[in-house]
Amino acid sequence: MQKVKGKLVLKDGSVYEGTLYSTHKAVGEVVFTTGMSGYQETLTDPSFCGQIVIFTYPQIGNYGCNDLFNQSEGCCYKGLIVSELCDEPSSWRDEGTVMEFLEKNDIPVLTGVDTRAITRRIRSYGTLQGVLVPADTPDDEIQALLATPEEHDQVAQVTTKKVYTMGPEDAKYSVAVMDYGVKRHILECLVEKGCKLTVFPAETPAEEVLAIDPDGIFLSNGPGDPADLKPEIENIKKMIGKKPIFGICMGHQVMALANGAKTKKMLFGHRGINQPVRDLVDHKICITSQNHGYMVDEDSLKGLPIEVINRSLNDNTIEGLRYLDHPTFTVQYHPEASPGPSGNAYLFDRFIKMMGGH
């Protein structure tokens, strides 16, 4: 990638200069994530599709990259912003630098910037559209880029193109996975719990999914605005009540939408691996990994047979729902971690139990 003086220009006009490595100009929604470890898991998380991501931790790439950590095939960021990328990693796992990874995936990266200053900006003003461009880019070109309409097809970009299966044939449970941009480790967790998975493209009609007669259905995480997923939501409506359903992140949101609730955009979202969540069922507090910019609107739940089972300890927003009329529960956070704390895998057990397991 070419190394030039570059900058991030936010829609509110603020400019942050640094060193840009890129082959093209980038535009996207600028978000920040606060995890101190697991940069590769974060880079390969499809839920970030279409976004320019800031890593608030300033030293990134210290242990290099290894395919083992990938959560998807590549990286679907529009761009990355870091304070410093380590060019000589040190680890027995190291099989290449983050810069090499970015180059391979053609992701522009701005380094040497005051990432904390940008983070503070976004925290105060909310998520903003931004561009990553060479420093000498004319202003009208920047304005034109900033005016690029928002994307609405991120899920289509990251979902599997064809049905595939995972896990042993003789597994105890058969689970249909609706892939809105699923993280690899979710699938691995389910397999580990004794599931055989059939992974479907996001828009697969419900009939086709139900045709395999799974023991349960899993709705995955994914990028973008859940309200954009109209066909997916219609399909979910047809699956409700037919099978036990478990959803994570996007899966949580689209299930709420399919049940008549609403979602809304958050000021700057929850992105990090230190988010405390209260489990209202057993009163435990869990530290969770999160990555979402939308949430289920609490007011829209009024009168619906839906119970809130998890809440964020920080802002009291909804982090988990249970559906009273059908065997379904969903969480906004990521029990599969990767990156992040691994103490929440019990949710997968809960799903297994719903499918008749113990």
Partner: protein
């Protein structure tokens, strides 16, 4: 769940004196805990023998007992106060051990006291090696192949099975006392013998060494509802093999994958849950650098040094949260004090990195073994916060105050390349600097890694610093290059040196090019939430987060890391100064870098800057904050040294002026003052070379006291008795020059008296006078001090008042002044004057009831003594005695001579108060950890010049029923005086000699004085060291011995355990 209903009155155990392995971190955590409990409306009874702390201030706890941390005294306090609860997990290992003992002896049960926080059973599971092993096995947590032994033979047996190297870890000790790595049977024998001795329960763990693995720590907090979080993880740059307290540490972990981070996090939480910890806990791991294999090294079920570091590194107040949990709260019920919006139930995330470097006492103990291993040797530590590792490392180096501003040690320049490369192998306090030097000489990262096992990631950061040096030397200094090196933490002085300019010139250039630091906030959440805490660090970024306020501001300089000669007492002073300034309506700013202290708590000053205390770093803060002035008189020599340079840069020094400081420190100007007011001092001269020294010594007459000018803590100070000794001193101990003169004074043997006074320019307030038990010649910091004085005549006291007035007014002191006098033949001589706060200020403040720093700060700000409602002059003496006794850490420092002399050696102090002097002294001895035997044999071996003097002392101990033993010469002498003395063989004789007697427990105490200029010194050294290794008292001053037998006599006649709360002292 709200706080526990049945908790109304809580006893908190502090950690006692500062020793190696247990420094100021427990003042910080204890103070936080007491405040947290008081916030809940609980009555707090505090016990801590250390007077130099904030936590023993009368307003930190409702009842403050500065008493020995000993079960007998604790029981007396419990009986008197009848607390319903005890909190023991915030007083370090001492507190924990006492809680176990109180429980074991049934005292808690007897008085119906419940233990708050982590329970005994949990503590035992972590502390008892066998239970720990069982617990880890139950959890399938890997621990090193090991065995628990109670004998050396058992250790050897194990070694035959698993081979070497082996680590010996004694159970229930502090800072790894007595531990070590054994590479062969002999070493194993030696280390195990000592280890078993230091272990409170005579147990040691022998384990397979995993030296070279990564050492990782997790700080965990859990509540009784089983909510459990990790506050911080930390990676030691020094791999396993160096005690974590002696390791350079970085937070968060830098070289671990998320899988590794989460694997160890999960293990930590599993362990803490299984133990049932309620509060804070620390888990240490060794992680194989080539796999995901790990082992659990150690678990500390309490607040620790690491938790203090983690608190300061993240902003998460672990001690406060632990105290609230003990009071019954759950994590989610406790507010996040930093954001004020979220709860304490979360895990901090950093957007910076933190570097900790230990501060070692090798500048004082030059001859000590500098090798770092499993036994901790550092007295303190510094912490630096930056946005990259290089800058963090360089900032931390500047914080250390070891005369270096950069990772470049001039002593290494002299070495050949090969010598430098060889030195990289040495695991010592200079390794970081040696590695940098080796890179300068062409060593590769791979080579350095092969030798040191330090991760290449860190080595490359050090190499990067060296690469930048080369660029500065070879390239033109452009704004881009200057910004780049500033971003990587280079000091102006360093840059200047490399490009041929002064530091101030670089500073001017930076200002011209607008390359200025910005200050960012430590907020626990990487800016995700708006934070309320004004806790800042500097970095060369874009956005500055400091909010401007219209208030009048004053900046207080802190005192940096804890070291011998500059301990927690100066932190006490800085904190009090901040409080007094707040009272006067100023907005207060503190600059300091010691993570273990109250002064660096984010709610002490209005604004905290975690920065090195160098001219550049302080000026940058001043540029940003524009305070009215700077207070330097409370930050020890660190701050005083900055007064002149700051003043030269146009900064206003509040209180006593730079000129006043100079007049006290500059020999000639000081002599002028003394002459003008007619105060005598021991005759002396300033010299610049050996010839001058010899001439001066013969003029003033031997013995003479020699020392370099401008010293604190008696560094390189000695008493010499003849020309030969003087020559040796001048050649070896100091580097005399025109810039660094040496003072030669006649040594006057007499009673040493110390005064701390406050002056407002017109009047002088003298809260008290302290008399030392040891004669002049023993450093005042190592002497036992008594308040009020016991032997001074009316006449002498009047002279003291007169001289103190004259000196304070003559020096135009505005604030604090410390004066040391010698009384000889009813005549008073002045030996030293410091127009600043001294180490005795907290002691004197506590025993006189006058909060001296508050008064002095107000004087410095122009509020007179009378305006403060105080009467100038000497305060009337009370009807009790307070004794301050020094505490040493000799058991951590091999090869150090324990003889007391002009060079300060103690690391901490204790205080005890009683209506009767002997009882106060006796208590102080117990508090200082001097285990006075009830009976047994006392070995007397003294220099010829001391033989007459030792006679009544020997008689005294004989009367108390002790058996006396001595070598032939001394024995004969004493027998002639009618004293019964057994014979022992000299140390230089064949076995069995007196060293064997000590080793095998036949001698319970030693009285030994230093023989001058004879071969016997070596024997003496061996005797003294062996008393340390075998933990028996050794008195090296006859004054101490005399006072001690008298005190013991009084205790024999009437053994009374009396305790008194500071609140009950009738100071008026």
């Amino acid at each position: 769940m709200p706080k526990k209903e049945n908790v109304k009155k809580v006893m908190v155990i502090g950690s006692g004196p500062i020793i190696i392995g247990q420094a100021a971190e427990f003042d910080y955590s204890g103070t936080q805990a007491c405040r947290a409990l008081k916030e809940e409306g609980l009555e707090v009874v505090l016990v801590n023998s250390n007077p130099a702390t904030i936590m023993t201030d009368v307003h930190i706890a409702d009842r403050v007992y500065v008493e020995p941390l000993d079960v007998e005294f604790l029981e007396a306090i419990i009986a008197k106060e009848r607390p319903d609860s005890l909190l023991a997990t915030l007083g370090g290992q001492i507190g924990l051990n006492l809680a176990i003992e109180l429980d074991k002896k049934g005292i808690l049960k007897k008085y119906n006291v419940q233990l708050l926080g982590t329970q005994i059973a949990s503590i035992m599971k972590a502390e008892d090696r066998e239970l720990f092993k069982e617990t880890m096995e139950k959890l399938h947590q890997p621990i090193p192949q090991s065995t628990i032994v109670e004998s050396v033979d058992a250790a050897k047996e194990f070694a035959k099975k698993v081979g070497f190297p082996l680590i010996v870890r004694p159970a229930y000790t502090l800072g790894g006392t007595g531990g070590g790595i054994a590479h062969n049977m002999d070493q194993l024998d030696d280390i195990t013998t000592k280890g078993l001795m230091y272990s409170l329960i005579g147990q040691a763990l022998i384990e397979r060494s995993v030296a070279g693995w990564k050492e990782i720590e997790y700080e965990v907090v859990r509540d009784h509802e089983d909510n459990c979080i990790t506050v911080c993880n930390m990676e030691n740059i020094d791999p396993v093999g160096v005690h974590t307290g002696d390791s350079i540490v970085v937070a968060p972990c830098q070289t671990l994958t998320d899988r590794e981070v989460q694997m160890l996090r999960t293990a930590a939480i599993d362990i803490v849950r299984e133990l049932g910890v309620e509060g804070a806990c620390n888990v240490q791991y060794a992680l194989n650098p080539d796999s995901e294999e790990y082992i659990v090294i150690e678990v500390n079920p309490r607040v620790s040094r690491s938790s203090a570091l983690a608190s300061k590194a993240t902003g998460y107040p672990i001690a406060k949260v632990a105290a609230k949990i003990a009071a019954g709260y759950t994590l989610d019920e406790i507010e996040n004090a930093v954001t004020k919006k979220t709860s304490a139930c979360f895990e901090p995330t950093l957007d910076y990195c933190v570097i900790k470097i230990p501060r070692w006492p090798f500048d004082k103990f030059v001859n000590a073994d500098h090798t770092l291993g499993t036994q901790m040797k550092a007295t303190g530590e510094v912490m630096a916060i930056e946005r990259n590792i290089e800058a963090g490392l360089l900032k931390a180096v500047r914080c250390l105050e070891i005369g270096l501003i950069h990772m470049d040690m001039p002593e290494l320049h002299k070495l050949t390349d090969q010598e430098v490369f060889d030195k990289v192998r040495k695991v010592d306090d200079e390794r970081l600097f040696t590695i940098a030097e080796a890179f300068r000489r062409g060593m590769t990262v791979d080579q350095a890694h092969a030798i040191t096992k330090i991760d290449e990631f860190f080595l490359r950061k050090i190499r990067h610093i060296v690469e930048l040096e080369v660029r500065l030397k070879s390239e033109e200094l452009t704004p881009e290059l200057l910004r780049e090196v500033k971003e990587r933490g280079f000091a102006d002085v360093t840059i200047g040196k490399l490009v041929g300019k002064t530091g101030l010139e670089i500073r001017a250039l930076r200002k011209e090019w607008k390359i200025l630091p910005v200050y960012k906030m430590v907020d626990t959440c990487a800016a995700e939430f708006d934070a309320e805490t004004p806790y800042y660090y500097s970095t060369y970024g874009v956005e500055d987060e400091v909010e401007d306020t219209p208030n009048k501001k004053v900046l207080v300089l802190g005192s940096g890391p804890i070291r011998i000669g500059q301990g927690v007492e100066f932190d006490y002073c800085s904190v009090h100064s901040v409080w007094a300034l707040k009272e006067l309506g100023y907005e207060t700013i503190i600059v300091n870098n010691n993570p273990e202290t109250v002064s660096t708590d984010f709610d002490t000053a209005d604004r905290l800057y975690f920065e090195p205390l160098t001219l550049e770093d302080v000026l940058n803060v001043i540029d940003r904050e524009k305070p009215e002035g700077v207070i330097v008189q409370f930050g020890g020599q660190t701050a005083i040294n900055l007064a002149g340079p700051l003043n030269d840069c146009g900064v206003k020094i509040l209180g006593s002026s730079v000129d006043s400081i100079d007049r006290a420190e500059d020999r000639e100007r000081f002599d002028e003052l003394l002459t003008s007011v007619g105060i005598p001092r021991p005759k002396g001269h300033t010299v610049f070379d050996i010839e001058g020294a010899l001439k001066a010594a013969n003029d003033v007459g031997y013995p003479v006291m020699v020392r370099p000018s401008y010293v604190l803590g008696g560094r390189a100070m000695e008493i010499v008795y003849n020309d030969d000794e003087l020559k040796y001193y001048m050649n070896n101990a100091v580097k005399a020059s025109q810039e660094h003169p040496v003072l030669v004074d006649h040594y006057l043997m007499g009673t040493e008296v110390e005064v701390d006074a406050i002056c407002d320019g017109k009047d002088v307030l003298m809260p008290g006078i302290m008399e030392h038990i040891e004669r002049a010649g023993v450093h005042s910091g190592d002497s036992i001090a008594v308040y009020p004085p016991r032997t001074l005549s009316e006449h002498v006291i009047e002279q003291i008042i007169d001289y103190t007035n004259k000196l304070a007014l003559g020096l135009e002191v505005h604030g604090m002044i410390n004066i040391q006098y010698i009384v000889r033949d009813e005549k008073l001589y002045v030996i030293e004057v410091n127009p600043r706060s001294s180490r005795t200020v907290p002691f004197l403040s506590k025993v006189t009831g006058i909060s001296m720093v508050d008064v002095a700060t107000k004087c410095a700000m122009g509020v007179s003594i009378r305006e403060q409602g105080l009467e100038p002059g000497l305060k009337l003496f009370p009807d009790y005695y307070a004794v301050k006794a020094p505490v040493f850490s000799f058991n951590k420092m091999t090869d150090v001579d324990i003889t007391l002399g002009p060079e300060m050696k103690s690391t901490g102090e204790v205080m005890c108060i009683d209506a009767q002097f002997p009882r106060a002294l006796y208590k102080a001895c117990i508090a200082a950890g001097t285990h006075i035997p009830k009976s047994g044999a006392i070995l007397i071996t003294v220099a010829d010049q001391d033989k007459d003097e030792v006679v009544p002392i020997a008689e005294g101990f004989e009367d108390l029923g002790y058996e006396l033993v001595a070598t032939a010469g001394t024995a004969k002498f004493l027998e002639e005086k009618g004293i019964h003395v057994g014979r022992v063989e000299k140390a230089s004789a064949g076995t069995p000699n007196l060293l064997d007697d000590i080793k095998e427990g036949r001698i319970c105490m030693v009285i030994n004085t230093l023989t001058h200029g004879s071969d016997a010194t070596r024997d003496g050294f061996k005797i003294r060291r062996s008393t340390v290794e075998h933990a028996i008292p050794c008195l090296t001053s006859l004054d101490t011995a005399r006072a001690l037998y008298k005190a013991m006599g009084a205790m024999r006649r009437r053994h009374v355990v009396s305790v008194v709360a500071l609140q009950d002292l009738k100071t008026e």
